[in-house]
């Protein structure tokens, strides 16, 4: 059984991004880039399924600029068997990525696609669901537990009121939530080994996909800042302020 894992190169989660002064976007020049944390969880889950003997091959896919190769190497250092880069300099939006992934699913025929639930840059939370719909497959989003057996997956999902468990037919798309697993650190020998794993590069046109953006960003601004607050000396003063100044008690 083959598992496909899409991975996105994003600004590292520890970086506090700055909005460009001309309002055209955020400044990502000379900023540390990493694999989207939810995608790292997805790679880890796929590799665990392979280690458990459920999956036979884990294929990592990244869509974007040439530097996404690094993200694919990271996925392969965690344990993915090979990588596919869909290379383009065009700004990719979730629908375009879902279409690229659909084309790859048609070709690779995976039984499961494990995606991160959202990327921490655009915070869209769309790609997995879109891919699932385009394929006509079932989906299990925001997974905190995944079990795969013959022809089906049982997935526990984190929802607003608690948890729910779905049984879905394969092939299917699963998207990861934070508590699905804790990704391993790639060891140096595995990082070295990953450099020798196969990495194929294709272009969107090779896959017959039009990736033209549908949304135009008109401007990007900083959110209004909260004015600096005051420090109170003790609980009594805090209660007094909340009652008489803020009037929220």
């Amino acid at each position: 059984m083959k598992i496909l894992v899409p991975v996105k190169r994003v600004v590292d989660y520890n970086v506090k991004v700055r909005v460009k002064s001309d309002g055209t976007g955020v400044d990502i020049a000379n900023v540390k880039m990493s694999m989207n944390p939810f995608d790292e969880i997805a790679v880890e889950e796929a590799v665990r399924l392979k280690e458990a003997g459920v999956a036979t091959e884990v294929v990592a896919v990244s869509c974007g600029v040439g530097a996404c190769q690094e993200t694919l190497r990271t996925a392969m250092a965690i344990g993915a068997d090979r990588g596919i880069l869909v290379e383009t300099d065009v700004e990719l939006q979730p629908l375009a990525v879902a279409k690229l992934l659909k084309a790859l699913c048609d070709k690779e025929q995976p039984q499961v696609v494990i995606c991160g639930k959202q990327a921490i840059d655009d915070d869209a939370n769309q790609t997995g669901q879109m891919l699932s719909a385009l394929m006509g497959w079932p989906q299990a989003t925001f997974a905190s537990k995944v079990a795969v057996s013959a022809g089906k997956a049982t997935v526990t999902r984190e929802i607003d009121g608690g948890l729910e468990t779905l049984e879905i037919a394969l092939p299917a798309v699963v998207t990861t939530d934070l508590r699905l697993n804790e990704p391993r650190y790639a060891t140096l020998p595995n990082i070295m080994k990953a450099k020798k794993k196969p990495l194929e590069t294709v272009k969107p046109a090779d896959l017959g996909v039009d990736v033209t953006p549908r949304l135009t960003t008109l401007k990007v601004v900083e959110p209004p800042k909260r004015s600096a607050g005051v420090m109170v000396a003790d609980v009594a003063q805090l209660v007094e302020k909340l009652k008489n100044e803020a009037k929220v008690l």
Partner: protein, 313 residues
């Protein structure tokens, strides 16, 4: 121009998030139609008809919606959009785990972009949405014929009552047969929902254990009539279930008063609560980043300060 709002409901009543979504829909200027797809959802449909500003309620009542599966719901929404023959210009749902699950499927099948978690409507095709955990606000314009949108509920008031919309039954789609709900464990609580609470008492790793979380925070929450929340660290450490999590990837809240207890204030947490009206932080570390967004900060041992606060309010 017709704006379709996909209702989040439990068959008996509408979820509050649906009311905020109706308010966002009203800002687009057009007829607001609510779709209630449920199983024995008559009461929810009646509630939808009473929401102010709604012109029509469409009800697809069928056992295929008993699980509220994304596959069946999305097919129904697509059917409604297609049946309207171009009259529906916008499809909206709340940016809750419900809306986030269903709406991207609708967008993909309609071959249009989705605009996620809007916080403002600039015009019928231009919207403001947070990116990078709310560290930037992007204004985006959609060129697609149908705008598929999820709405950050804290950014819009809840629509009131007083409407008297007509209710129309429509045919339900067939079951996809691809997905089956086998279990649901909902957190039972007499406290208000996080998304709707006026006051939230939220705890972090500083509490040290699940036992402490409950022992220290519950009496305060009970006295204030507050909802309980938590940081990711507290949820990961197993103090409380996942649905308590406030943050970029958890719940986005904006209560009148947010009390952050033993929470250091990672940017991912701040993304979920910085629109609260008043923020109070209690932490023993004076350098904790939470103090940079707090209106009132108290550097103290939470195990002393919180019980004092509980008896003082």
């Amino acid at each position: 121009m017709t704006i379709l709002v996909v209702a989040e409901h439990d068959n008996a009543s509408l979820k509050g998030a649906t009311l905020n979504t109706v308010s966002a829909a009203a800002k687009l200027g057009g007829d607001v139609v609510i779709l209630v797809a449920g199983s024995a959802a008559g009461a929810a449909a009646e509630a939808a008809a009473r929401v102010a500003g709604v012109s029509k309620v469409l009800v697809a009542d069928s056992a295929v919606f008993a699980d509220q599966s994304a596959e069946n719901l999305a097919s129904q929404v697509v059917e409604v959009v297609k049946a309207a023959g171009g009259a529906i210009s916008h499809v909206l749902a709340p940016a809750t785990t419900f809306g986030k699950n269903v709406l991207p499927r609708v967008a993909a099948v309609l071959d249009v972009a989705q605009i996620s978690e809007i916080v403002a409507v600039e015009s019928a095709d231009t919207f403001v949405r947070p990116i990078y955990a709310g560290n930037a606000l992007a204004t985006v314009k959609s060129a697609d014929p149908v705008k598929v949108i999820t709405v950050r509920t804290t950014a819009f008031e809840a629509a009131g009552e007083g409407g008297s919309a007509s209710v129309e039954q429509i045919a339900a789609v067939a079951d996809s047969g691809l997905s089956r709900l086998t279990g649901r464990e909902l957190t039972k609580s007499a406290r208000p929902e996080l998304g709707a609470a006026k006051i939230i008492v939220s705890g972090g790793r500083g509490l040290g254990s699940s036992e402490n979380y409950h022992k220290v925070l519950e009496p305060l929450a009970d006295k204030l009539g507050a909802a309980l929340g938590a940081s990711r660290a507290a949820v990961d450490a197993g103090y409380v279930p996942n649905d308590y999590q406030v943050g970029q990837t958890g719940k986005i809240v904006a209560p009148q008063l947010y009390l952050a207890v033993g929470i250091s204030g990672a940017i991912q947490h701040l993304a979920g609560m910085k629109d609260s009206k008043v923020i109070v932080a209690i932490n023993k570390d004076p350098e904790a980043p939470i103090f940079q967004v707090a209106d009132y900060g108290l550097v103290a041992d939470l195990f002393e300060a919180v019980p004092q606060l509980t008896s003082a309010v």
